[in-house]
């Protein structure tokens, strides 16, 4: 028996069962049958036609008008059938697209790849999740010859593939920086010149660049219009903003950046992020920076990587699992 014949018989049996007992059990069979029909790509207009044929067969004296009325229902269902078959095709496109994006994201990963350095006395956690498929946020660690931990966090204005294309450029630029990475303000100044020269004038990049020197426990940093980080003082238990002024990269090639510093005591934390963390929009409006702080407090006893992972998980759910912006959060915690 061919597929259509089999389906016809199945439907016939379900209908006959249901006419006998009207049970939930039979309706459940109907639902499973629906799943099967859809898997086998049978269009809804065919079901309507099947139903009409069955009625005619089971009740030869059913009024003619009832049978005629099915012609109209059939006509209407053809439109849904088309939508349904377009749906199949869009699903396939969606799959192809997802595969392509996975490859592209891997290429991006290879291009932008960084690894979190292992340094005695410093516990580092970092997470970066794209809102769509490719990341327009970027973070980068370099452990230099003096055992200083350099950390960069950047955000292209914009999301998705266009932003990702830009971000790969930044990576090439960072790789070709001269070896004296020691001064954050100088790093930003030279990156600014590259961006100004090479990137589409409508694209801007915010960046925070910091360097932690484990021999004097000082964190040096500069910011190019980037979302300010937080500083956690273990002794007072208080959080303060790491304010830093500076123009975005790519606006004016002569921009100078100011450099700031903080002494880091045992238990203190430096928390860096992109605006996707603080501007995560929930049903009740934007998440306040204060709310983020109480979120951090909740997990403060854990290690840095677990803290950032947990915070991401909480915020993801708050946003109903749909990120509005790329999300990057980094925590540096000086161990006792």
């Amino acid at each position: 028996m061919d597929l259509r014949g089999k389906m016809e018989e199945k439907y016939r049996n379900i209908i006959i069962d249901y006419l006998r007992d009207q049970s939930e059990q039979t309706l459940y069979q109907g639902q499973k049958f629906s799943r099967e029909l859809i898997e086998k790509k049978i269009s809804p207009e065919e079901i309507v036609s099947l139903h009409k044929g069955l009625l005619l067969d089971l009740y030869p004296n059913v009024p003619e008008s009832v049978i005629h009325s099915f012609d109209v229902l059939l006509e209407v269902m053809v439109g849904y059938g088309l939508a349904y078959r377009e749906h199949q095709s869009l699903r396939n496109k969606q799959m192809e697209f997802r595969t392509e994006m996975e490859i592209a994201a891997n290429v991006q990963q290879t291009l932008l790849g960084t690894s979190i350095p292992v340094v005695e006395g410093l516990d580092i956690g970092a997470i970066s999740v794209p809102a769509r498929h490719m990341n327009g946020d970027y973070f980068h660690f370099v452990l230099d010859d003096h055992q200083c931990v350099n950390v960069a966090i950047a955000d292209v204005i914009g999301k998705g593939i266009p932003a990702a294309l830009c971000m790969s450029m930044i990576k090439y630029a960072m790789d070709s920086l001269p070896e004296n990475r020691h001064a954050p303000h100088m790093v930003l100044e030279s990156l600014n010149r590259v961006v100004e020269q090479n990137v589409d004038p409508s694209m801007f990049i915010t960046m925070f660049y910091g360097m932690y020197n484990p021999s004097n426990h000082i964190f040096y940093y500069s910011s190019a219009g980037h979302e300010p980080g937080f500083y956690y003082d273990a002794q007072t238990g208080g959080f303060s903003e790491m304010e830093a002024k500076g123009l975005l990269l790519g606006i004016d090639k002569k921009t100078k950046y100011q450099q700031y510093e903080r002494e880091v005591h045992p238990g203190d934390m430096i928390i860096l992020m992109s605006d996707g963390v603080t501007e995560c929009r929930t049903e009740e409006g934007f998440l306040e920076r204060d709310a983020l702080i109480s979120n951090i407090r909740k997990y403060i006893h854990l290690d840095a990587q677990t803290i950032v992972n947990n915070i991401y998980k909480d915020l993801e759910r708050l946003q109903d699992f749909q990120l509005r912006d790329d999300f990057t959060l980094i925590i540096l915690k000086r161990n006792v």
């Binding site: 207009e45 059939l74 006509e75 439109g79 088309l82 377009e86 095709s89």
Partner: protein, 133 residues
């Protein structure tokens, strides 16, 4: 080659005439009601495109035979503005009618074969075939 019957498309009523012609031929060939509904929907869509975008044109219906197979061919011709980007028009999900899923990809789906030639400012010629199973 079989005999063509044609309907000129000048206004919306002609869409119904084209559907009626298509349905009659489909019935004669022995198509079932589901396929009849699909063929007439495809004809509607083609006729509607002529009426909306080309102003005028015609729909012809032809019985065709290939070996032991019989089929129905719909030919939609107009001398309207033509289609500038056929790839885009044939792409799923592009048609602006919210979720209708018809448009030319819909016609292609409803039928078994589909061919289109279009030149800017010269017009469009679409041929679609449905085979009797």
């Amino acid at each position: 080659m079989g005999i063509q019957s044609c309907v000129k498309i000048l206004n919306e009523w002609d869409i119904v005439a084209a559907r009626q012609l298509g349905r009659n031929v489909a019935k004669e060939l022995g198509f079932g009601t589901v396929d009849q509904a699909r063929i007439t929907t495809a004809i509607s869509e083609l006729a509607r495109n002529i009426y909306l975008y080309a102003g005028q044109g015609q729909i012809c219906i032809e019985k065709i035979y290939e070996g032991s197979k019989a089929g129905l061919k719909v030919i939609a011709v107009d001398s309207g503005p033509g289609i500038s980007d056929i790839r885009q028009v044939m792409e799923d999900g592009y048609s602006t009618s919210g979720g209708l899923g018809a448009g030319l990809p819909g016609v292609k789906r409803l039928m078994d074969q589909f061919d289109i030639i279009s030149s800017l400012e010269k017009g469009t010629d679409i041929r679609a075939v449905k085979w009797l199973r």
